[in-house]
């Protein structure tokens, strides 16, 4: 029963990710006084790509063909580790938050290798930039989740959410810092403004798009879908770790219904926040990103230190 629930939740995650992308696009259009496309447009795009014949560049090896499947599978597995509407699912136990970060790294590695497989300047450029940003963002993310892990005495996401639910709404300075750090990392890792612009195809500015420039058809569909899942994953992480209220703690229909309603609400609000920040900030040039990410890192480390100095000390006395 538990496992069936877990698989259903993972399927819901996969299915809902394009919807979130559609919602973000919609809010953005409204904010820019444009007429928005339908909420279902991302699904239509995926379907269109799925039906097209993909093009395989000449120098490509098996890595290029396998990478989309690896990326998608790793992202779906990662989505399985994160409680979406209910805690205490067995999938949250088979891997903790460090493994989650590891799976993001695995997906990224294959994407980067695929970018270098073709031997064009774009692929290498995107790959180099992606890895540079990732190597700064990943430690910042780990530090942010470690803050939580040290407060909750666990790296298991379900247990951590239970801890926050049990202790109730306490204003912890460490959580505020960690939340800030994680939000900054989420923006960098999902390739949003001001780090990367998902809508651009301008040679000098693109990062993620440069890596996947050669992809088409079903491969591109998988990669796009995976990055939509990843965006939603970060949203769910932020929403459920720091504001887990409403998440189902048993499998009664009412609790699950409330869980679905709450997560839709939380993600909807987070999306609006994301779009607002994208509307306010301009894209940075590439060698500003390290300052941005060191700031995220610093925030996370501050969170950790403030936990150790302010909060852990209180426990001991």
């Amino acid at each position: 029963m538990d496992w069936i629930m877990a698989i259903l939740e993972d399927l819901l995650f996969i299915a809902a990710a394009p919807l979130l992308a559609g919602w973000i696009k919609r809010v953005k259009c409204r904010l820019q006084n444009r007429k928005p496309p339908s909420l279902l447009q991302p699904y239509r795009d995926l379907l269109k790509l799925y039906r097209k014949q993909p093009i395989l560049p000449h120098p490509a090896s098996w890595i290029f063909r396998a990478a989309p499947y690896v990326v998608f599978a790793a992202t779906v597995a990662a989505a399985g580790f994160v409680p979406l509407v209910a805690v205490d699912l067995p999938t949250a136990r088979i891997a903790d938050v460090i493994v989650l970060v590891g799976f993001f790294a695995l997906a990224r590695t294959f994407l980067v290798l695929a970018g270098m497989d073709i031997g064009t300047a774009f692929g290498g450029m995107g790959s180099s930039r992606e890895m540079t940003i990732a190597s700064l963002a990943e430690p910042a993310m780990l530090m942010a989740v470690f803050t939580l892990a040290m407060s909750a005495h666990t790296t298991n996401l379900s247990q951590a959410m239970n801890y926050v639910l049990d202790t109730g709404l306490v204003l912890r300075p460490s959580f505020v810092f960690a939340l800030g750090g994680l939000m900054l990392v989420a923006i960098a890792e999902t390739g949003r403004i001001p780090v990367d612009n998902p809508a651009t195809h301008l040679e000098l500015t693109m990062i993620h798009e440069a890596m996947i420039l050669e992809y088409s058809g079903r491969w591109l569909a998988l990669i796009e879908w995976a990055s939509q899942i990843k965006l939603m994953l970060y949203g769910v992480l932020i929403a459920n770790i720091f504001f887990p209220w409403g998440i189902a703690r048993d499998f009664s229909p009412e609790a699950l219904g409330l869980g679905v309603g709450m997560i839709v609400l939380k993600l909807g609000l987070l999306a609006i926040l994301l779009v607002l920040s994208e509307a306010v900030f301009a894209k940075m040039r590439i060698f500003r990103v390290q300052e941005y990410l060191s700031f995220a890192y610093l925030l996370s480390v501050l969170g950790l230190l403030s936990h150790i100095i302010l909060e852990a000390a209180r426990v001991h006395h």
Partner: protein, 704 residues
């Protein structure tokens, strides 16, 4: 039984050294057989036939490596036996001075390192026969290579067996000196001679530190055997002095920052299978020495030592990988990455020391297990990568990344094996490198149990550095794989490279790759085997590690953290296969081959790709203070007043700051001192007579 197998391993290694020396003397062997087999003409004829020139050398080579492989198998069996039994076996050998016979001992700790030695050695013995063939007809003597390889391996095995300080040091020096000759093997290049000399010098300095460390212990103990040293009771000050000396000596061999500068010079210039043994195994022997000294021999552990080890380890990890990222030479890059991995091991050991000194034996054990598992993992994947680099070198005579590219098309099997090594060393799930780093992170996250606020905040900072290191390691090895194996070939000889012909040269790395995957997916049995070892060293074991079953890892408790790599793999593979089935098999839409996008200009060439230097340029710029970068831009100009630039040549070199800050000043100081002492020698007979006169007077004064 295990001890007997361990002796057998040493004997097999020594025998391979002996066999190597009768290289090229087939006539001598022929004569021997002639005399023995004189009565059986048919056998004699067959023997003669099999000793025919080229046949003989191939057999000889195979025998040499078969003996090494036998040594590896015996070491592996001895090690697993010792780990499984959990109790030490002791023996005394009638060597050495009459009152100082050699004591040997095989306990779970040395047993574990016997396994760490055995597995790469088996892979090397598979790889070796094909690899050394090209040395046969060259100017290098295969006899020397085989002799010193055998002695080197025997030395490492004897270090693990030694149970007194004297035999430990003899074995240690045997290992160091034999490996010096291996580093100097291709001595026609001045750079190799220089690297070998530097290596020897550092080995000697390190050995002095280790001897002094043992000396301090022996001064308080009742003898040189490890049992006597264990009984020595030291004051905290003397214990700290011994500890710092041991850390210096073993750390120098292991390549800790800032004593690491010899390592990236020496490891890459040896033949590749030797580099694999040096980076994969010898560094672990140094770690063994450190663990033996500080966890076993010293009777106390102070938290300050833990902090020192933690800081040194973290610095080695992050600096090692930053320098590795900037290397263009593949083997040099791998050597720098060894500095990083040893740094990770020492970080974990530092955590373990801190927890142990705090009285928290379970967490101390967890840190120790993380360190040991990382030792094993590093031995596997680093040997694999060095053997892979050796295969590329053998087929293309190229080790510069800037000239490689597209090897996945030319050497597909090697490329797949190398990919496993790349993903393992980049600490990506579900492979083995990730498991050990996960354990180390789990240890660090338990810092809340420590009373001291300073330590409590230091440990998470170290884990932040570790997180940065593992992310940079991923960048580094993605670069290696992407530049060497993917894209378009950057030079002619790479474009025409062929897959390695000898099966063994693929089988060796493939064996290691299989082990990397296996340990990555099923780590719990490996960790359970270490229970006897940790009980011996810390008095505790990880009783909870398989609380949820043998597929699971639960280092502290199930509700704190759990990881089931096998289940994760099954899930991800199922998803990947389902996508593949639905999207490819069901639609049956075959992809269309086409040219890559070239912005419509046409004519993409290999020179337009990102190079290795370009790939790591953002990191070089972001971490500017860590490097000493020398860049030159040469312009050749033409036209009136040189306004037209016809050619540009850019080159850059990244220098190691430790080299500039530590080694060169010391070197200059030694030269200055030597010059000052040299003033004594004026070359004037009267001065020398004066020296004799005053010495005589002085001696007379002393005597009277």
């Amino acid at each position: 039984m295990s001890l007997f197998l361990a002796y057998l391993a040493v004997l097999a290694a020594l025998l391979s050294a002996v066999v190597a020396t009768i290289d090229g003397r087939s006539s001598w062997v022929d004569g021997l057989f002639g005399r023995v087999l004189a009565r059986w003409p048919r056998q004699l004829e067959r023997t003669r036939h099999s000793l025919a020139a080229e046949d003989y050398s191939a057999r000889h080579r195979r025998l040499l490596f078969a003996l090494l492989g036998g040594s590896g198998v015996a070491a592996l069996l001895a090690g697993t036996g010792a780990l499984a039994s959990g109790s030490p076996l002791v023996d005394t050998l009638p060597f050495g001075l009459p009152w100082l016979s050699w004591h040997t001992r095989l306990d779970p700790l040395s047993g574990f390192f016997f396994c760490v030695l055995g597995l790469p050695l088996i892979a090397v013995s598979l790889f070796g026969p094909g690899y050394v063939r090209e040395f046969e007809h060259g100017k290098h003597s295969l006899a020397g290579l085989g002799l010193f390889t055998g002695l080197f391996v025997a030395g490492m095995e004897l270090v693990l067996l030694a149970d007194d300080a004297l035999s430990f040091m003899i074995a240690w020096e045997l290992m160091s000196v034999a490996s010096y000759f291996l580093v100097a093997f291709q001595h026609e290049h001045a750079a190799n001679r220089r690297a070998a000399f530097l290596y020897l010098l550092m080995a000697v300095v390190g050995a002095i530190a280790i001897i002094l460390a043992y000396g301090v212990l022996a001064g308080f103990g009742r003898g040189l055997t490890f049992d006597a040293l264990r009984g020595a009771s030291l004051s905290p000050l003397w214990a700290s002095i011994a500890f710092v000396l041991a850390l210096t000596g073993f750390g120098m061999k292991a390549g800790l920052v800032p004593l690491h500068a010899w390592l990236p010079e020496a490891h890459p210039v040896a033949p590749s299978h030797i580099s694999a043994l040096m980076s994969g195994v010898m560094l672990k022997i140094a770690v063994y020495g450190f663990i033996r000294f500080s966890f076993d021999l010293l009777d106390r552990i102070l938290w300050q030592w833990g902090v020192l080890v933690l800081v040194v380890g973290s610095a080695s990890a992050v600096l090692g990988i930053l320098y590795a990222l900037q290397q263009q030479n593949l083997k040099r890059l791998l050597a720098y990455s060894s500095v990083e991995n040893i740094g990770i091991v020492f970080t974990a050991l530092g955590l373990s020391l801190i927890f142990l000194s705090n009285g928290d034996t379970v967490l101390g054990t967890l840190g120790l297990v993380g360190a040991l598992l990382h030792c094993l993992n590093h031995a596997l994947f680093k040997s694999l990568l060095f053997l892979g680099a050796g295969a590329i070198l053998h087929q293309t005579h190229e080790q510069n990344l800037e000239n490689m590219g597209g090897l996945i098309h030319r050497m597909p099997k090697l490329a797949n094996v190398f990919l496993v090594g790349t993903l393992s060393i980049a600490a990506l799930p579900p492979l083995n490198g990730f498991v050990s780093e996960w354990l180390i992170f789990q240890t660090a996250l338990q810092a809340g149990s420590i009373q001291s606020g300073v330590l409590r905040s230091l440990i998470p900072t170290a884990s932040a550095v570790l997180a940065l290191t593992s992310a940079l390691a991923a960048t580094c090895f993605v670069k290696v794989y992407g530049v060497a194996f993917l894209g378009l070939p950057r030079s002619g000889h790479i474009a025409h490279a062929k897959e390695v012909g000898q099966r063994g040269m693929l089988a060796g790395p493939a064996l290691l790759a299989a082990l990397c995957v296996l340990i990555g997916i099923l780590p719990a049995p490996v960790i359970n085997v270490m229970a006897g070892l940790t009980r011996q060293l810390t008095g505790a074991d990880l009783g909870n590690i398989s609380a949820l079953g043998w597929l699971w890892l639960t280092p502290v408790a199930p509700e704190v953290a759990s990881y089931a790599p096998a289940l994760v793999v099954i899930g991800s593979v199922a998803v990947g296969w389902l996508c593949y089935y639905l999207l490819y098999r069901r639609t049956g839409l075959e992809p269309r081959r086409a040219e890559p996008w070239d912005c419509g200009f046409g004519g993409l060439t290999a020179r337009m790709q990102y190079t290795s230097g370009a790939f790591s340029m953002p990191i070089r710029r972001i971490f500017q203070p860590a490097f000493e970068v020398q860049e030159t831009l040469e312009e050749s100009r033409e036209g009136p007043a040189g306004t037209r630039v016809t050619a540009l040549r850019y080159r850059f070199q990244v220098l190691d700051r430790a080299w500039l800050a530590l080694y060169e000043p010391v070197g200059r100081g030694v030269v200055r001192l030597a010059r000052w002492v040299g003033r004594l020698q004026t070359g004037n007979i009267r001065t020398y007579l004066g020296y004799s006169f005053f010495t005589l007077i002085f001696l007379l004064w002393v005597i009277s």
